[in-house]
């Protein structure tokens, strides 16, 4: 450790020396290094002073640094320190490699600290193994989540244009998956599929069919052999699979659960079991998980399955909030949504997060949900990449149910794409088949009818 500390000092003081000899270089350094990246306390103090000068005056000054060091008194002999910093033969060319080493040292140090914390954690006896694993993964994640190369987020116009143009050509030639298709043609035409690293929220009030819709999407995608993970915080794994069987076999859900299916239906159930049994699906149905545990499970599933195409979390309000949330539940939920969006980026897959919305809109004339209905749930509408609302008029009141039955529109469900970062907004209509607890897209039906037999 002593050798390592000496190295820190050497690189960090070299960088400060370059800055004092070539003050204009602060423009580059300030964008790449933060005070926290310096591990030597004296180097950290000097860099902080220089950074403050830069923020105040857009430049750095050796004389002002000298006066400030004298006043501060932490460094005993400021003259000697500045002389030492500027005594080496430094060139501007050494700047970038020195920055890289400083950042590498910082990241190594983060890992060392995480390792110590994990070691300490292992001595705590009141944690069960899944909590221990989740916390340990969280610590490693925190230690490794710092970007190693800030420059990858900075593009010159030409570079960005080339990137865009290449992606455009790839799309034109179908070389890339433009998004994970939900299997509902109307929806896919509108949103272009669920994009990697995006957090998509499916929200509706109770009994609109949120979970059924998500299971439907999952089944459609699974049929294309794309691996999916489901974190179900309410429904048991068996119930989810039951829903898939009911949808696939097209048997009445109630008859299925009561064991009252006939021979023909039993054959269809048997075929559905056959269809479904090898599909790449992992389900966690443990209740009361927090975000860290969800993250740990999704990571584990991704590793176990050799990749994941989609993760579904059912549902937001069932995710365990941190213990200190009492003062501001909405903020705590917002924090969870933000963490899940970051998780989508980290795992490089789309996440579908199901969310309930309150019935506060029932007093409105038009009961279709709007983005502001999510405001009580931690500003989901600002954080999520996509927001899809489900609205079945028949479910809003007994009168509405009667009226829609008279009109023959009781199955109609509006899928309202209220926000879509990279696609269009708008709405489509699906039909909800209550018997099979599933949604049907009229577009799919018309396509199937036109398929050559």
């Amino acid at each position: 450790m002593a050798i390592l500390e000496k190295d820190y000092r050497q690189q960090e003081f070299q960088l400060l020396g370059i800055l004092l000899q070539y003050p204009a270089k602060i423009d580059e350094v300030a964008d790449l290094l933060e005070v926290k990246h310096f591990l030597n306390p004296h180097a950290q103090l000097i860099y902080e002073m220089l950074l403050n000068q830069y923020q105040r005056e857009n430049q750095i000054s050796r004389t002002k640094l000298f006066l400030q060091l004298k006043k501060d008194g932490v460094i005993k002999k400021p003259e000697e320190t500045i002389e030492h910093l500027t005594s080496g033969f430094n060139t501007p060319e050494e700047l970038k490699p020195t920055i890289d080493i400083i950042k590498k040292n910082f990241q190594q140090e983060l890992l060392v600290k995480a390792a110590h914390k994990i070691e300490q954690l292992a001595t705590e006896t009141d944690l069960d193994i899944s909590e221990y694993q989740a916390r340990a993964q969280e610590l490693v994640f925190e230690a490794t989540s710092e970007s190693t190369d800030l420059e990858k987020h900075i593009y010159e116009m030409e570079e960005a244009l080339m990137d865009s143009f290449e992606a455009y050509l790839d799309r034109k030639h179908n070389k890339v998956d433009v998004g994970l298709r939900s299997g509902f043609i109307s929806l896919d035409n509108l949103i272009g599929g669920f994009k990697k690293s995006h957090l998509n929220v499916i929200a509706a009030s109770t009994s609109m069919g949120k979970t059924a819709f998500a299971i439907n999407i999952a089944k459609n995608i699974l049929m294309r052999n794309v691996p999916i993970a489901m974190i179900s915080l309410e429904m048991e794994a068996r119930e989810i699979i039951d829903r898939m069987i009911i949808q696939d076999a097209m048997v009445n859900g109630w008859k299925y659960t009561q064991g009252e299916t006939n021979d023909d239906e039993d054959k269809r159930i048997s075929k559905a079991l056959d269809d479904l049994h090898e599909l790449p699906l992992m389900i966690s149905d443990e209740r009361g998980l927090n975000v860290a545990q969800i993250r740990a499970r999704l990571r584990k599933f991704k590793a176990q399955m050799g990749g994941l195409g989609l993760a579904i979390i059912d549902y937001l309000q069932m995710i365990k909030l941190p213990d200190n949330h009492v003062q501001n539940t909405s903020r705590a939920i917002g924090e969870i949504v933000l963490q899940l969006r970051n998780l989508a980026s980290e795992l490089e897959l789309p996440i579908i997060l199901i969310s309930q919305i309150s019935r506060s809109f029932t007093s409105r004339q038009d009961k279709r949900p709007v983005l502001s209905d999510l405001r009580d749930s931690g500003n989901i509408e600002e954080i999520a990449d996509g927001v899809i609302f489900l609205y079945r008029h028949a479910q809003t009141s007994a009168a509405a149910r009667e009226k829609t039955e008279e009109e023959g529109t009781e199955k109609e469900t509006e899928i309202i794409i209220a926000k879509q970062r990279t696609g269009q907004t708008g709405s489509i209509k699906l039909l909800f088949e209550e018997d099979y607890i599933s949604f049907v897209d009229p577009e799919n039906i018309s396509l199937e009818e036109n398929m050559p037999q």
Partner: protein
């Protein structure tokens, strides 16, 4: 660091200390200290004559 640079640095510290003392005594203003420190920082950009002229400009009155 060569000998000349060391001498340069010593002069810089001496000048900075001297003007700071004047500031502490209230004999020069905040702005004047700021300007003189900036001049000292960039002393290599000026010939001795220019440096002296700039110094006189700062303390014109």
């Amino acid at each position: 660091m060569n000998k000349q640079d060391k001498i340069d640095l010593k002069i810089i510290f001496a000048l900075t200390n001297a003007y700071e003392n004047l500031y502490e005594k209230g004999e020069i203003t905040d702005d004047q200290l700021d300007c003189v420190l900036s001049l000292i920082d960039k002393h290599q950009d000026y010939s001795p004559a220019d440096f002296e002229k700039k110094l006189k400009d700062i303390f014109a009155d």
